[in-house]
């Protein structure tokens, strides 16, 4: 009786294994699209890749790293690229993430474009500089009760080439059954220190990555990230500057300000920092040091819920009201903003009311 059961089970397992083998061979033979050519930026670069993979993975195999937070599942919509020819139809996974205008101009989710033939694509030039890095965490400090500052030493590659204002995608480790995720954080250190990068990370309640950073990550640990990404950076004009950023939004602004000091860029600049109370302030000493040693820089923190009877002598109220009071006329200025979409939109409103053309407002929206 037992023998009969074993024989039956063995036979079924063998059938299953045979069918699986048939499927693998069939996929390789029938779905083998052969080598395909990726024409990037009208002949600027050409790659020969194996057909059958996704555009995202094929580019990654050739060390071109397109941002992605969902591991190629078509959820995050970070991996948009313009595909001029050869992409095939837009599937139901892609469609919700693409506007009619994007569809018209050939924008696709590169994780959903399967390579079946030659493709012509456009890739923003800055993405060619993106690499995968291994680094060691050499410093972790609490800047406030909910913002941590991280400092990393690069191991492989040993240096990074970035522009002040750019960001990286940090890879968290698995913990407590939470899978590894990628999250974007602006670089807060100065580009000339190309052996290290620093980040400012704010704790998000129940956040997968920030919980790992705050509760599990320790100095001495290896970290992995890709970058640099982003187009947020200081222009090369002489226009006076209005910086507006709060909380961890300070990161790209601090990188830009440090670079200005280092390079002797003395454009008049005012940095407006909004916070609820004094316990939300950080790097105030460092910023005030720049104020004291220069004539071109001003730092204006404004507190929204500081107790009336406290020793605070600085500005109080909504940061947009303070900006309006300092600069009723913004026509001649440029603005650099970093924060949530709501905050950015409110700032844009105030700045344009003061006469600033929208094209002079540069921002890094958190979304």
């Amino acid at each position: 009786m037992l023998n009969a059961i074993f024989i039956s089970v063995g036979f079924l397992a063998a059938c299953g294994g045979f069918l699986a083998a048939v499927l693998v061979v069939a996929e390789k033979k029938i779905l083998n699209y052969g080598p395909c050519t990726l024409d990037i930026n009208a002949g600027e670069r050409e790659l020969i890749v194996d057909g059958g993979s996704t555009l995202l993975s094929a580019l990654a195999e050739n060390s071109i790293f397109i941002p992605s937070a969902c591991g190629g599942r078509g959820s995050c919509a970070y991996c948009k690229l313009k595909v001029l020819e050869g992409a095939g139809f837009v599937g139901p996974v892609e469609e919700p993430h693409l506007t009619p205008e994007e569809l018209e101009t050939g924008i696709r989710l590169s994780c959903q474009v399967k390579i079946r033939n030659d493709l012509k694509i456009e890739i923003p030039k800055e993405l060619f500089a993106v690499k995968h890095f291994r680094a060691k965490l050499i410093g972790k400090e609490m800047l406030t009760y909910d913002i941590a500052g991280l400092r990393m030493e690069l191991i492989e590659p040993q240096t990074i080439d970035f522009v002040a204002g750019q960001y990286i995608q940090l890879e968290s480790e698995e913990y407590k059954s939470r899978e590894s995720v990628m999250r974007a954080y602006s670089i807060s250190s100065v580009p000339s220190d190309n052996r290290h990068i620093e980040l400012m990370i704010r704790k998000v309640p129940e956040g997968i990555c920030t919980t790992w950073v705050f509760d599990y990550l320790q100095e001495g640990k290896d970290l992995y990230f890709s970058g640099p990404y982003g187009e947020f950076h200081l222009s090369e004009t002489d226009a006076p500057i209005i910086f507006i950023a709060s909380g961890s939004g300070m990161a790209p602004i601090w990188s830009i300000i440090q670079r200005m000091v280092e390079k002797g860029i003395q454009r008049n600049a005012v940095y407006f920092f909004g916070a609820l109370s004094q316990k939300d302030l950080f790097y105030a000493d460092e910023l005030n040091q720049i104020v004291d040693s220069s004539e071109w820089f001003q730092f204006v923190p404004s507190l929204l819920q500081e107790p009336e009877d406290s020793d605070w002598q600085g500005e109080r109220g909504l940061i947009t009201d303070v900006v309006k009071r300092y600069f009723p006329d913004t026509f001649a200025h440029e603005a650099y903003l970093c924060g949530s979409p709501g905050m950015i939109n409110a700032c844009i409103s105030v700045l344009t009311e003061g006469g600033m053309p929208e094209e002079k407002i540069y921002y890094d929206k958190f979304a």
């Binding site: 937070a69 959820s75 919509a77 974007a184 609820l276 819920q305 924060g339 979304a367």
Partner: protein
Amino acid sequence: MKRSPAEDELIQSLSPSKFSAQGFLGHDTRPVDEIISADQRKLDRLGISINTLVDSLKAVYQQAQQAYGAEIQITPGVFVAFYESRGRVPSPFKTDGVFEKGEAVAREKETGQHIIITELGIALIERHHFFQGLGSRYRMDPEVAVRLLGLSSFKEGKP
């Protein structure tokens, strides 16, 4: 009762993922359509439509967002504060797209009862009548939401 493949796929989407540490079902083991029906019955008993509730949630979310983290009063004894964060989160219903992160926490000071309002949470209610499962951090129980938002005295179609 055995679930269909479509139901299995939905449960998978609503479970914890790269984008949601806890997922959207909490510790609720009821089928999704049962969760939706039960919450709809609560709203019906309260005499409030989905549209009225959604409009109110959107208004409070926007008010909180524009206060940049400051606490503002929305109804007697109830305050809301906004917590921003970087990134986007995809809807578990694949056709909905992605939504900005950030949450507005509306809390009654005396009892501590609260709801956490997110753009995605509002969309799940508006498009799918899905308030999320019991135990989900972002579940907005209809009775609690109606009370905290001051809609209890509002009855559809009645003066």
